[in-house]
Symmetry: C2
Subunit: 144 residues, 2 copies
């Protein structure tokens, strides 16, 4: 059981932007700092910008920054945007075929467990990840 | 975010065995009933047998049955046996490389969410899945 790299990288981008709120950041810079392919980041940034979580400023001196106050960027909202699905088992999918699907209690139990996972994620915002001097220092030092 | 097919199929096998506790079941039979490849099932049954959850009886009239009382087959124990890992993000893995790994609070939050998921799964046993007349009827009717 794991989250996608897409989600993992999204959190890293948001933490980077959250520790550099005083200026615009370039995707190349984030790519270098985290050693993550720029192509991956372009897609993720585009997606998060569409959701209003990242603001993209075009132009030669353009770049990206957070689109919202970190206190308003809920971690559950982020994973709901970045994870393609939460289909824990075949019975969660529209196209799944399990012969006992309609009579099985497992779906209900897995849903309860998943909601419990969501509930914890929903307690936290990006600001909770940024309230961390060690992280701030590390990411600021890394910056160009 | 999803569980492996291995886990999904494990639960289906256990539910089948749990509704046919009065006799030995063959892997071919489970394979036919669920339309799951026999090769997949052989591996899973071997794994669950090693863990004592399934009992395998060799011989011409042999087959498989539950290795324990369904009340003693905890659903969390099953997924801990069948999921290869719970590495939600790169920071959970031994070989992962995230430059902020040591200073990042996300690992702690994801772990809290994961433990919350585990806690729900740990509340239930196979017997909870079997306390279900509709499932029992369906699986009994399907039987040879």
């Amino acid at each position: 059981m794991h989250l996608s790299k897409y989600t993992d990288y999204s959190f890293r981008i948001l933490m980077y932007l959250g520790t550099h709120e005083d200026r615009l950041v370039t995707i190349s810079e984030v790519s270098k700092r985290y050693t993550i392919s720029k192509n991956h980041l372009v897609k993720i940034v585009h997606h998060l910008a569409q959701a209003g979580i990242i603001k993209s400023v075009p132009g030669k001196k353009g770049g990206i920054t957070l689109g919202k106050d970190p206190k308003k960027i809920n971690l559950l909202d982020v994973i709901e945007i970045t994870e393609s699905n939460f289909d824990l088992a075949e019975c969660f999918t529209e196209h799944g075929y399990c012969v006992i699907q309609n009579n099985c209690k497992l779906t209900k139990i897995l849903t309860e467990a998943l909601f419990s996972f969501f509930k914890v994620m929903g307690k936290y915002n990006l600001s909770d990840l940024l309230r961390n001097d060690q992280l701030r220092n590390q990411l600021r030092k890394m910056a160009v």
